[in-house]
Every structure is written in C-alpha cells, then in structure tokens.
Symmetry: C2
Subunit: 196 residues, 2 copies
DNA sequence: CGTGAAAATGTGACACTATAACGTTTCTCT
DNA sequence: AGAGAAACGTTATAGTGTCACATTTTCACG
C-alpha cells in the first residue's frame, strides 16, 4: 500500500482517487485558505478504498465520523466530533460518547485514524491507512497536523532498540511547532478562516 | 548539565549524588527485583540539586510527590500519586487533585518530571532535569519507563524540519514495547514484586 | 426467503483526568 | 515587622473515556 510521505507533494497516496491539492500544499502543510473540497474527496475515497480492501464495513455512523474528520486538517476531540454529528445529522440525534470512541477505535485499528495523544485528539490518516512509525507535525498556531516521514528514525530505531535489548511494538512521534504558513504570517496566533 | 543516556550504565548523571544502580541496570532498564533504594536516593538527591541550582523551592508537598515518584520506575497517574499522598502522609489528609497537578507542573517546567501522554502518567526524569528530545521507552509488560537517547533523531530532526519549512518547538517520542527483562521472562505479563 | 450468529449500535451510568476561581497560608526580602 | 509574591487549600466543574447490558442490523448459510 502507498504510504509515502505527504511531503512528497506530487505523490498520489490514494492512487487516482481524485484531484490533488498539489497547488495548495507546501511540503504537506495545507495552505490556510486552500480549497478543501479536493482534500475531502480524496480522504473519503481513500478511506472507502481501505475499507473495501480489508473487508471492513463502512456503516452510516462510521461514514459520518469519516466525513467530519475529512472536513478538517485539524485534529478533533471525540466530543468535537460528537457535536458535529449532532449538527450534521438530519435527525439531530446525539449519540453517546461511546459511539464516537467505538468508531474511532475501528478506524485506528485499520490505521486510518491517528490519535494525537498530547491533545486527546484524532485525525484522519492522509495516506490511505498505515500503522508504521510516521511523525506527526502539529502547528501550534493553526492546529494543522500533517504526517511526514523521518527516514533516519525508521533506520535508527531498530538498531537502538536492539542495543537496549528492547522490542518495540509501536512508536509515536509528535513534533509541535509552527508550520510554514504560520511562519510566513509572522507566527501570528490569530486564526485564519479556513485554516482548520 | 549532565543529560546523557541512561543506557550509559556507568555514567554519573547526577554527579556523585550517591551509589548507582549499575549492577542492577541492563542498558537503562532496571532489573525487576533490584534493590531500589539507591535509585531512590539518587532520584531525590538529583532533584534537590536541580532545585538548588535553579533557586526553586522544594516544599513539603513537592517533596512528598518527589518521594512517591522516586519510589517507582513506573509512570504514575496524578490520582495514583494522590492516593499515595494520603497513605504516606502522617495526617492522612487528602489533597485536592489540583494540588498534585500543580506540583507536577512545577517539576515539568524544571524538566524534572516527564509526562507520558499516551497514558496520562508522570515519571521522574532520571537524568537530572532536562527538556530536550529524549525518547521514552515503555515496557508494555511491567510498565517500566526509561529514557534513552536516539542520536540519529536529534541529528535528523532539524534537517527534516527545515525541509518541511517547519519550526519545531518540542518533540515527544514514546516507544512502547517489551523491555529486556520481560523478554527474558518470555514476555510473561505477570507482575514481579519490586518491578514497579 | 428465514433464521441464527456475529457485528454494530443504543442506553444509562459512571470512572478517570484536569482545570477554574478565589480564599488562605507561608515564605522571602527589605 | 510588614508588604508582596509564591504556594497551597477549598469548592466546584469541565473534559475525556469506559462498562455493562439491551437492542438492532447485517450477513452467511441452509
């Protein structure tokens, strides 16, 4: 499965799943004002592909959560998602928190959703579902989160683990800082419409 | 300040702060049945040194939390600490949660306590107070947590960040797996007395 | 079809984690 | 000693996550 870095701007992680955001992307960080529609389509199409491939059921609730996550480049808390389920749903019904967590667990097990543990927040994998070591780059200003590989880490980790006699099962790397767009804006902490 | 890897068994992170656990340590992972007393002394002495050096006040409550953390190689939740404060304290008084969190914040700002965000748990820095990138290695079986550097990561991170146009402010690396001692025990999930 | 097992979701309660706001005590410095 | 700052106490509450069990939906198989 294609799991290359988002940093590879012209890569096609999901195959030809739809128009890419190439023009709007700077090394994986979405432009604040970019047209999010293509990203969204790509996210959803990719998720559908993963489900199909793995024989997992993309139910109504799951699709709803998927759409909500796909509509954002920011990690969302479980209760944020819940609120959006209320306002999005035609019936306006409020699911119980456990429902959201169950859906998130489901997607996490498929590698389609990642949890940002420093923030108790979740975001959609932009690469089509993977579980390997892939650092998360989180902008402190606009809260955008991006995945971008760190090849040296992948090389060094097994060696260092062997040195320590440690058997790694999972690795989580969270880098917090300021993304290129916010840097360009002089690190102004003011939120920009659409930079979400 | 000395901030070398725990993996350097013969290093003296806290200067000559007390007897080391060298004989009991395997590449930084404390032996399940090891005599914890020296570790404890070293932890506390080191923390005292940091406070002295930075002019921070080591009050009664803070010392109490420090002692509790120093008595363990496992990360503790804030409420675990709270419970131990109740049972440890002569008066048996129960502080409010906020008290524990305040103390933890205090120590974290000095780099003396780290937070394991994947577990909402805290542990004492074994190196004398630092704030830089230092992976946490967490054993899934015995819950022991250890810090051990990953030099390649420190080298590669700035370069990769520059590539991405990202300005990193903090990096958190959490490696979960099985420590050498638990591996030797055949990954037996049974807790061993003293391996805490 | 239909039916039975498994998967998914609903429901209500509750445990765990963390912080806000404000009052009181303790410490430090002059 | 007294003023100001830091630390801590007190009460309340916000935010995050799970348990246990009931009900509904889905799917494979006869």
């Amino acid at each position: 499965m294609a799991c290359q870095s988002v940093g590879e701007v012209d890569g096609t992680p999901y195959g030809a799943a739809g128009p890419m955001c190439s023009r709007d992307v700077s090394a994986g960080f979405p432009q604040p004002g970019h047209d999010h529609h293509p990203c969204r389509l790509r996210f959803v199409a990719g998720a559908e592909a993963v489900c199909r491939e793995k024989g997992a059921r993309l139910t109504r609730v799951r699709r709803q959560v998927l759409e909500i996550l796909a509509a954002s480049h920011r990690p969302l808390g479980a209760y944020d998602i819940l609120e959006q389920m209320v306002s999005t749903s035609p019936s306006g019904r409020r699911p119980a928190p456990i429902t959201v967590y169950r859906v998130l667990d489901f997607f996490q097990e498929l590698g389609m959703v990642h949890r940002l543990s420093s923030r108790n927040a979740f975001f959609l994998c932009s690469q089509g579902g993977h579980r390997q070591t892939m650092p998360f780059w989180l902008c402190r200003e606009c809260d955008t989160v991006t995945e971008a590989s760190l090849p040296e880490l992948e090389m060094a980790m097994p060696r260092r683990a062997a040195e320590l006699g440690f058997s790694p099962i999972s690795v989580q790397v969270e880098v917090e800082g300021v993304c290129p767009h916010c840097r360009a804006r002089g690190r102004d902490p003011v939120m920009v419409e659409g930079c979400r």
